[in-house]
């Protein structure tokens, strides 16, 4: 398949269908509407399921139902809508259901606006649902990677029986870039646990997150946690740029990381040895990878389109080895590379 | 009865609903001009025939129109 120019939202929807998504549930919200609209058309044409739910809460619970019944399923939304989905995400995690949630985030809090932002890092990685649960969070930096990560999300969801979120931003949703889609069928795995109404298997399946007694619930939490530790050990994805000899480490994710990459080039042109570490998985977070670079760098700077969210994970990773600084713009304002250059320069030469 | 119809031209979006509902057919959109917000504004071709019925103003979504009655 050759490259085609495609809008991020449309590419995400197409990638999901190629990855074997058979059921989509959504509710209109900008800037992700094209995903819902594409699914409305192509799920019908490919004999899949499309339902425009009455709300985001309903949509995620439809996902819970479809995933519990053993089918590859997905929902998508944007910040305020993802906020409403938190309840259902917690239930999916508690009942160990594979589901993909695409979050095309926008400016907040509240209604905020529909411009690109990264102020939903905490919402994605910590979530607002109740309980000791984790969501696998992937962060693409462009349209091509968004499609690859949606595919990977379905793989991870099935492999670990867990909700996986693809955290894009309004830029990726609305932007067009050349894309080459992977149209190979994604391997399906057996789901002997699914409540698909087939007692010929010889036993009953129950999808549930209720554990009335303390011991079984504690055991359940240990089972879940073992899964999260396995991700941290095996599933971290990270991209390095000019890090080998870097004496200043920049950390940035998503589309804004591309601007930080330009800033690295500008800094290098001025003789400042900057490097960029880009987390592609926000949970599990590349803590070891960041920590490993600390001995060679003067400081670490986290650049985000937020008031400072990922920087907290960066601080935990650095754990006091070197100073950690933050630079951010918010509300839909996207920083320019020269702002990052200036921020780095302002911190050079030790703590002032 | 005679009337006078005036338009706040720079908030007119050229939707044409006033034109549609004018019983005297004296309103039109000026396709030779674009106002400051990018539309062909409505205007009155023939004030003499305005009867001050205010149908145009009733149907204007943007409250662009003022209608006056001229007492003769």
């Amino acid at each position: 398949m050759s490259k085609v120019l495609m809008k991020g939202n449309e590419a995400i929807a197409k990638a999901a269908i190629y990855a074997g998504c058979k059921a989509y549930f959504g509710y209109p919200i900008t800037p992700q509407n094209e995903i819902t609209e594409y699914m409305a058309k192509y799920m019908a044409l490919s004999k899949g399921v499309f339902v425009q739910a009455e709300s985001e809460i309903a949509a995620i619970n439809m996902v819970y139902g479809a995933a519990g019944a053993g089918v590859r399923t997905m929902t998508s939304s944007s910040s305020p809508g993802i906020a409403l989905k938190q309840e259902g995400i917690s239930y999916c995690a508690g009942a160990e259901l594979p589901a993909v949630i695409v979050s095309v985030s926008r400016g907040g809090p509240g209604l905020g606006n529909i411009l690109p932002a990264q102020s939903d890092y905490n919402q994605a990685t910590r979530g607002g649902g109740n309980g000791d649960y984790k969501v696998f969070v992937l962060s693409p930096n462009g349209v091509q990677e968004a499609t690859d990560m949606v595919r990977h999300a379905f793989y991870l969801a099935d492999k670990y029986r867990n909700p996986v979120m693809v955290l894009a931003d309004g830029m990726i949703g609305q932007m067009m870039e050349p894309v080459e889609l992977n149209i190979e069928p994604l391997e399906t795995i057996e789901k002997p646990w699914a409540a698909d109404g087939n007692l010929e298997r010889g036993y009953r399946n129950i999808i549930n997150s209720l554990y009335l007694n303390s011991k079984p619930l504690e055991e359940h939490n240990h089972v879940l946690n073992a899964k999260y530790l396995e991700w941290e050990a095996n599933e971290v994805m990270v991209d390095y740029y000019q890090c080998e000899d870097a004496t200043v480490l920049l950390v940035a994710y998503g589309t804004p990381s591309r601007i930080v990459k330009s800033a690295v080039n500008k800094l290098r042109a001025e003789g400042i040895k900057a490097g960029l570490l880009r987390p592609k998985t926000l949970y599990p977070f590349p803590s070891k990878e960041i920590s490993a670079l600390c001995p060679q760098v003067e400081f670490v700077l986290s650049a985000e389109l937020s008031m400072g969210q990922m920087v907290q994970d960066v601080r935990l990773a650095v754990n006091g080895q070197v100073p950690v600084y933050f630079y951010g713009r918010t509300g839909g304002v996207v920083f320019e590379d020269k702002e990052i250059v200036d921020a780095v320069k302002s911190h050079l030469g030790g703590v002032k | 009865m005679k009337g006078r119809v005036t338009f706040a031209e720079d908030t007119c979006k050229g939707c044409g609903l006033c034109v549609e509902f004018c019983p005297k057919h004296i309103l039109t959109l000026d396709t030779t001009r674009i106002n400051s917000i990018g539309y062909n504004p409505a205007y009155c071709l023939d004030q003499e025939n305005c009867i001050a019925c205010a149908f145009c103003a009733l149907m204007c979504p943007d409250s662009v129109i003022t209608v006056e009655r001229i007492d003769v």
């Binding site: 870039e177 589309t255 | 674009i34 539309y39």
Partner: protein, 180 residues
């Protein structure tokens, strides 16, 4: 090649976003890295519309153009007023002469005019004004030849009436060739 930071701007309905998309398609077919992003907001027809197109050899950094515009295509006066201060010092401004009668451009910038209305009328349909603007822009970018433009138009209107394709191509060609 020097990185191209192109902004296309005008009223909604002038085909601005399509012009940007078609430039992006031409760049993609040449094997260049490219991104296209519209200004997006609440749905309302009319008003202003603009899009950013970044073209580079290897990969595109920021898809959003904050300043240093190398090429600006403006279809009306408010669009020109909005973006002129964000130009690169030796940038190129392409204006729609049909609606911008007396452009004020800082010295150092190159000004190119395209009478898109006239060209569209010449080829027989005023609806193809944006293709005239596209032809002029494609030439001004200095990256593309006429055949590359025509082939993208062919692709874009695939499955549509062939006379429509030819009409669009005619407007493109006339504008492309009218520029020396």
């Amino acid at each position: 090649m020097k990185k191209i930071k192109l902004v296309c701007a005008g009223f909604g309905g002038q085909g601005i976003l399509t012009i940007g998309q078609m430039i992006a398609m031409m760049a993609m077919q040449k094997g260049l890295a490219v991104s296209w992003i519209p200004s997006y907001g609440p749905e309302m027809r009319g008003g202003t519309a603009n899009c950013n197109v970044v073209i580079d050899e290897q990969d595109v950094g920021s898809p959003i153009i904050a300043d240093g515009i190398t090429h600006l295509l403006v279809m009306n006066q408010p669009a020109l007023d909005k973006f002129i201060s964000k130009m690169d010092k030796d940038g190129v401004v392409i204006i729609n002469q049909s609606l911008i009668k007396d452009p004020k451009i800082p010295s150092g910038l190159t000004l190119i005019g395209v009478d898109s209305y006239q060209i569209a009328q010449d080829v027989g349909n005023i609806k193809v004004q944006n293709m005239a603007a596209l032809g002029c822009l494609a030439k001004a970018l200095g990256l593309f030849n006429q055949a590359e433009g025509l082939s993208v138009i062919e692709d874009k209107f695939k499955g549509k009436d062939q006379t429509l394709v030819q009409l669009n191509q005619a407007a493109f060609s006339q504008a492309f060739n009218s520029q020396s």
